[in-house]
Amino acid sequence: MKRLALPLVALILCTAPVLWQLRTALTPTDELYRVPQAWLPARPTLDHLAAVFATRPFGRNLLNSAIVATGAAVLALALAAPGAYAASTLRLRGGRLLLGAALAAALVPPISLVTPLFRILNRLGGLNTYAGLIVPHAALAFPVALWVLAAYFRGLPRELREAAEVDGCSAAGALWRVLLPASVPGLATAGILAFIASWNEFLLALTLAGADRVQTVTVAIAFFPGIEEFPWGEIAAASVIVIVPVVVVVLLLQRRIVSGLTAGALGG
C-alpha cells in the first residue's frame, strides 16, 4: 500500500485539475455558482458544449488551428528531415551549422520576434493569413524536429545507408527511398511534437493572426471572457474540446513522445 501512495498522489495532482474542468463543462451554470460546490453535477448538461459552437465561431477556430498546426508540422518536417540527414548521417559542415543555428533559435524568446514579425508581415500583407502564422510556427517547431530526427537517423543501422550507396542512390535519393521509409516512427514523433507546439502556441497567434477569419483556438478561448462576466462553463467546454484530441494522441503514443522529448532535450 505504501508503495502505491506516492504514485497515486502524482496521478491525482496531474489529472484532477483537468477532470475538474471536464466536470465544469458538464455542469449547468446555476449549479456552477452554487456554494458549496458539489463534486459532480446534479443535472449534467451538454449546453455549454452546444453553446460554444452555436454562439461563437469555435468550429472555425478549430479548423484554423488544425490548418495552421498541420501546415507548420508538414513544413517543419519537410525542412528538418533533410537537415537532420545532412547533420547526422552525412556529417556535413552545413548540417552542423544548422544544428548550431537551431539551438540558438530555440533560445530566442518569441516576444523578441513579435514586434519585427508584425512589421515585416504587415509590409508583405501577411498579417491575418494562414501562411503568415504557419511559417513562424514551423520555425518555432523546427529545432525540436531537427533534434528528434537527427537522433533517430543516428540510431538506424549503418547497413541501410551503405545499401543505398551500393545501389548508386544520390544523397537525396538515399534519404527519400531508404532513410525516410525506415524512419516513420521518428517522423511521426517529430510531426506530433511540431503539431502540438503549434496547436498550443498563443503569443504569435494572438499578435500575427488575431482576426476572426484565421483566429486559432488558444486565442479564441483567451477572449471568451467578456467585459462583465466570465462564461466559465463555456470556457471549460471549449478547453475540453481542445484538450481531448491532444491528450488522446499523447496517451496513445506516449512512448514515442517521451523518447522524442528526451531526444529533443538531450540530443541537442
Binding site: 533533410p82 552545413g94 533560445l107 530566442v108 499523447v250
Partner: protein, 287 residues
C-alpha cells in the same frame, strides 16, 4: 554543393523567422517608430533603451520575471526529480500510468491551463477556496488573483503544475540510463538510501538536469501566456513580466521602437542565461 540543398532550406527558414526579424528589431529599436504612423521613423540612437532602463516599470518587470523564473524553476527541478524517482520506482504498468498522467499537463495549451487555474482559484466559486476552507487551512476565502503576493504565487503554482512533468520525464530518462552496477558498487561502500541519492544519483543526473534547467529557465524568462490569461500583469502591475510589458508597449502604447528595445533586452537576458548554462554543460561534459 548539391548537398547544400539538404540543409540550406532549413537554415533559410531560421534566417527568415529569427535572424531577419532580430536584425529588423535592432534597426527599429534605434528609431522612433509608432504603430499608427508607419511612414516616419527618425533615428534616435539608444534613446529607446535609455527610456526603458530609466523607467521604474521596466525594473519592476525585471524583478517580477526574476522572482518568477528563480522560484518556478527551483520548484520544478525539485519536484521533477521527486516525480521521476517515484516513476522510476513504480513497477512497469503503474509507471506507464503515472507517465501518461504526467504528459497531460505538459500537452495542454498554456492558455487552457491558465484558464483552468483561474477557475479553480476563483475567489467566490473556485474549488480551491472551498477545499481549503472546509479543511480548515484558511478561515475566509482568498482573492488569489487579486492580491500581489497571492497572484504571483498563483502564476508560479500554475507553471509548476504544467511543467514539472517535463523536468520529470527528462530526469526519468537520466535515471533509466544509470547503470545498476553503480548502486551495487556504492552499497559496498555504505552508500545506500539518501547517501546513494546525493553521492551517486544526483551527480550522474547532472547532465540531464542541466539540459532541463537550460530549457526551463529560458522558458521562464520569457513567460507570457500564463500571466496574460491569469492577471494581464495585475493587480496594479504586480505580476507584469518583461514579455507582458513588451506586449503592452507595442499594442497599448503603440511604441514600436521601445517595444523592439524591450524585446531585444529580453532576448539578451535569455541568451545570457543560456550561455552560462552551456558553459557549465560543456565544462561538466569535459570533466
Amino acid at each position: 554543393m548539391r548537398k547544400a540543398a539538404l540543409w540550406a532550406p532549413g537554415l533559410a527558414l531560421l534566417a527568415a523567422v529569427f535572424a531577419l526579424p532580430l536584425a529588423e528589431a535592432v534597426w527599429t529599436s534605434l528609431h522612433q517608430v509608432w504603430l499608427q504612423r508607419p511612414g516616419e521613423a527618425p533615428f534616435v540612437g539608444v534613446e529607446n533603451f535609455a527610456l526603458l532602463l530609466a523607467s521604474e516599470r521596466f525594473w519592476a518587470a525585471v524583478r517580477h520575471t526574476g522572482l518568477f523564473a528563480v522560484t518556478s524553476v527551483a520548484l520544478e527541478l525539485t519536484l521533477g526529480v521527486g516525480l521521476a524517482l517515484v516513476m522510476h520506482r513504480t513497477r512497469a504498468r503503474g509507471r506507464a500510468l503515472v507517465r501518461g498522467a504526467a504528459l497531460v499537463p505538459w500537452a495542454l495549451p498554456t492558455v487552457v491551463a491558465g484558464l483552468l487555474w483561474a477557475w479553480i482559484l476563483h475567489d467566490r466559486h473556485g474549488v480551491a477556496n472551498h477545499l481549503l476552507v472546509s479543511l480548515g487551512a484558511i478561515s475566509t476565502p482568498l482573492v488569489w488573483l487579486g492580491e500581489p503576493a497571492l497572484a504571483m504565487s498563483s502564476i508560479i503554482g500554475a507553471d509548476v503544475w504544467k511543467t514539472t512533468p517535463f523536468v520529470a520525464l527528462i530526469a526519468l530518462a537520466g535515471l533509466q540510463s544509470i547503470d545498476r552496477g553503480v548502486y551495487e558498487a556504492g552499497s559496498l561502500d555504505g552508500a545506500t538510501g539518501w547517501r546513494a541519492f546525493v553521492h551517486l544519483t544526483l551527480p550522474l543526473l547532472r547532465p540531464a538536469l542541466l539540459v532541463a534547467l537550460l530549457f526551463r529557465t529560458v522558458d521562464a524568462v520569457r513567460v507570457f501566456d500564463l500571466v496574460y490569461v491569469l492577471t494581464r500583469g495585475g493587480p496594479g502591475g504586480s505580476t507584469e513580466t518583461v514579455s507582458v510589458l513588451t506586449y503592452m508597449i507595442l499594442f497599448q502604447e503603440l511604441d514600436v521602437g521601445r517595444a523592439s528595445a524591450a524585446g531585444l533586452l529580453t532576448g539578451a537576458a535569455a541568451g545570457a542565461v543560456a550561455l552560462v548554462y552551456l558553459r557549465v554543460l560543456r565544462w561538466g561534459g569535459a570533466s
